[in-house]
Structures are given as C-alpha cells and as structure tokens.
C-alpha cells in the first residue's frame, strides 16, 4: 500500500473489503484529518467494516490505506498505529466479573501505557471523563447498558489517541450523557481525528463539520452537513393529506404529514401544502431513499 496519510489522519484509495462474494466496501476513497466526521448509512452499508479496517481489526481485500501516516499491513507500523488509536466497537462486551477500574487497567496494559502509577492515574482520568469514577469498584455485570457504553468510550480514550473511531457510541446514553459525550468528543477533536459512525443524525448535526454517507459499500456523499441539507431544499413539505405511496412521508404529532419528495418524483398539489426547511435527517433520508411507509 503506497498511499500515505498525514500523521494524524487517514487516507484510503479504492478500499475494498469482501466477505465471500459480498463487497462490504466497494472502492472507498477517503481523506480524514483533525475534527469530527460523521459516518452515516443504512444497516449493512459498510460503516462497521470501514471502521474495522481503519482500526486495523480487518485487512482490506484491495486498495490502498494509510492510517496515521503508516501502513497497517506492516506489522511494526500496525503496532505503531494501535498505540495511537482509540476504537469503540459496536456493542462492546467485557468480562462481567471485572470491575470498571480493573477492566480499564487491563486495557491500559494492552495499550502499553506506562508504569503502574501512571497507568492508574490515566485510568482514573478516563473514568472521570465518562462520569464513571464513582463506579470504579463496581463489577461490570452490575452496570447498565449506558454505563457499559461509557466504559467502552473510556477504554477508547486511554492513551490520548490521535485517531478515535466510534461505532454507534451514543446507543443507550440518556440525553444528559449524550450532551456530555458531545462535549467530550468536540474537545478531543481539536487535535485528533474522530470518525463517528451513527444512526443518531442529531449527533452528527451537533458535532460534525463533515459528513460521509455510505451506501452499499460506496461513499455517496462527502461534504458538510449544510451542503447535504442544501440538496434537500424544495423537496420537503408538510401537508394535511397523506401523499401518494411513491414518496417518503410520516404522520406528525399534529396530524399533518411530513413529505420528502425525491428528485424526479411528482408530489401532487394538495390543500395546505407548505414547503419547510429540511433537517439533516430529511436530507439523509432523501439521499438514501430510506424510510418505507
């Protein structure tokens, strides 16, 4: 793999990953630098596969990849990448009888973090950052789903990573914790590259200056959230009557219908039909043609 990325970024060219005959990634081109980039896509679009390739957990079948300026196919460089990488997998699982402190200490050893004192200090810092310090001696089987998710995030934060890959990080977090998570990620993104894969569009809207949309293993949009929203202008309506079945719509709390009209589809005029400013979610749904009636 000959392509090289900046020392705190990622570069991929024509990245392919197949499972048998299925192409989970089908020629992905990507350049990432410091800041938060949102990764959107339907289930099975290839988001987790892309994150696992970047995290050195999966080898790409074809294409060029450089992570933090190094080639993940070379053993020594892969280890270097892993020293500066934070990865929160989707639905992380743990050893249930470990304590939160014990698990993070174990992960810190695996990440080659210093002597015992320094390591313990780092574990405490990570626990405080995700608001789990008071639970440091609690066994993991006693933690709620949201707490486990925060613990996974704390594990990813060990070692002050230059590249942070987060796969569905806000699943199970309550609104307060999500705000705290956004604050934490924004702070980290000042110097680090953060790739945030999520179905929570509001997290992307709140955090990301850039958004990538994957569909069937390909990047179908790469730009700012504002640019994605701009593509949906004039195609989002609210009306009193249910629209025809060939457009995406859903019933709102007040009984009206929000209607997303894809390009080339005619939405017949109806009474009280008013154009509305699209949200990022509207724009994403229009792009991927999602949400069946």
């Amino acid at each position: 793999m000959t392509t090289t990325s900046p020392r705190n970024g990622v570069r991929a060219r024509g990245l392919v990953r197949t499972y048998g005959t299925r192409r989970a990634l089908d020629g992905v081109d990507l350049d990432l630098g410091p800041g938060v980039t949102g990764l959107l896509g339907r289930n099975g679009a290839g988001k987790t596969t892309l994150l696992r390739c970047l995290a050195t957990d999966l080898e790409a079948t074809d294409g060029e990849l450089s992570v933090l300026g190094r080639d993940p196919e070379r053993a020594a460089e892969r280890t270097e990448i892993r020293r500066r990488l934070g990865y929160l997998p989707q639905n992380p699982s743990f050893y249930p009888h470990f304590t939160t402190f014990g698990l993070l200490d174990y992960m810190a050893v695996l990440k080659e973090r210093g002597g015992r004192r320094e390591r313990h200090d780092e574990v405490r810092r990570a626990l405080r950052r995700v608001d789990l310090y008071d639970r440091r001696h609690t066994r993991l089987r006693r933690l709620s789903g949201g707490m486990r998710q925060r613990l996974g995030l704390a594990a990813a934060l060990l070692g002050d990573p230059h590249l942070l890959l987060l796969d569905e990080p806000t699943i199970g977090l309550d609104p307060e914790q999500r705000i705290r998570f956004r604050d934490l990620v924004s702070e980290l993104a000042v110097h680090s590259t953060v790739l945030l894969s999520t179905h929570q569009i509001e997290d992307v809207a709140a955090l990301c200056r850039r958004v990538l949309v994957l569909d069937q293993g390909r990047v179908i949009f790469d730009g700012t959230p504002a640019a994605l929203i701009a593509r949906a202008r004039g195609r989002v309506w609210e009306q009193g009557t249910r629209p025809p079945r060939n457009v995406t719509s859903w019933r709102l709390a007040d009984g009206r219908h929000r209607v997303l009209v894809p390009e080339g589809v005619h939405n017949p005029d109806s009474d009280e039909r008013v154009p509305v400013e699209p949200s990022l979610e509207d724009a994403y749904l229009l792009l991927t043609g999602a949400v069946p009636r």
Binding site: A55, T56, D57, A75, T79, R82, R83, L85, Y87, P89, P92, S93, F94, Y95, P96, H97, F98, T99, F101, G102, L103, D105, Y106, M107, V109, L110, K111, E112, G115, R116, R117, H120, D121, R124, R136, H137, G152, A155
Partner: protein, 266 residues
Amino acid sequence: MSWHLTHDQLHRYATHTADDVTAMSAEAHLTHCSHCRDRLPTDEAWLERSWADLRDIVDRPRPSPLERLLTALGLREHTATLLAATPTLYRAWLAATVIVLAATLALAHEIPRGTLLFACTAPVVPLVGVALAYGRGVDPAHSLASVTPWAGPRLLLLRTCAVLAPALTLCTIAALLMPAVTTVHETVFWLLPALAMVAGCLALGRWMHLSMAGGVIGGGWLLLLTVCTLLDGTDPLQVFSPLAQAGWATALALLAAVIALRVRTA
C-alpha cells in the same frame, strides 16, 4: 491560639534545621494552628506527587492472589496483570478439565485397560484450552483487545502459557495417580503429542480462527486413534511408542519454527 510561630521558626522547621525541642514544639503547635500551617512553606510538586502516591495506594484495586504470586515469582507487573486476567477466560474449561481427568482417573482404577481413556484424553486437554483462549467469539472483550499493540501473536503466546501451566500440571498429577505407574515415560508419555497439537493449533491459527484450528487438530487426533484401533493388530497406544514420540518431537520442532517465523513476520 494566642501565639504563632515566627517566620524564622517556621523556616527552620520546614528545612529540618531546628533543634529537637523546637521542632517538637513547632510540630505540636502546627497540629492545632491552621494559621501557621498555611504559612508553612511547601514544595507544591512534592505535595502533588505525595497525594498522587497516596491516592493510588488507597484507591487502586487489590491485585488478585495469582497476580501477587506471579509478581513475587519475578514476572514484570504488566505481564502478571495480563496473565492473571487470562484464567477468567477459561474457568469453564478448567472446571471441565478437572472433571474429565477425575473421571478418567476413576475409570482407570476400575476397569481393565482404563488408562487408555486417559491416554486419549490428556493430549487434547491443553489443546482445548488454547483453542478457547483467544479470538472473536471466545474472548468477550476481543473486539476491544484486538486493536491494541499487544493483540496478535504476543497476546496469543502469553495466553497459551497461561493455559499450558495449569493444563500440564493437572495432566501430570493425573498421570502420577494412574495405576501401576513406575517410570518417567509412563508419567509423561502424553506430553509430546499434547505440545505438538498445541503448536499445530497455533500454526494453523495464521489461516483460520484459533477455535476452528483446535477443532481441526482435535479431529485429526481422533482420526489417528480411530485408524490405529481399526487396523488389525495395531494398539492405539502405539501413537505413544518411542518411534512415534520421535515423530511428535520432530513435528513439535518444525511447528515451533513455523510459529517463531510467524511471530517474527506478523
């Protein structure tokens, strides 16, 4: 407090230059006088280090008995932490091993040629443990651990050591308790096949999941025993004959070389 220490007294107390009587008097006074304590010159960096040390002593989890034992045996602290964590992955295997070996031991004392069951089982015990020690599907936290610098052959070999130690110990104890064991060969005849199969599993792990590699090797072992049993006039125990032991040793050496090469190039 109706009186306070002078600047000179505080300075001499802080720099350990006060005589014993003055120092004891100053110390007794400082215990009760917050005003003088606030005026006491302090080394902030030293104070922070001391608090950090104290916090760590009070707050850190107590190492497990196994971790303390490994550290006492001279292992580095982080290696002891990783090794001590491994048994939690294979408690079920360890319990099953004890039960199986106890059962084979009981049968060996009760029925003629009962040692045959132990001979067939013992070489597989370490193999099963190693096959279940690393990888997706058997290690709950593998998705987190697999992207750390320790992931790969280094962690795999460390966990293999953590599995082999109890496995070989238990099998040796069981062999010593077998009926009519008189020679060293009768105690450790299963060892070379066991190590060769573990090495085979580790070598195959380059191309497939470790648990699948364990299945392949275990299946091969069963096939070998079946063939030996079905062949006319062949005793299954021939797989432990001196000639066969030479074969196992050769296989072990070759597989060890393959693993070493893999570690070097991984």
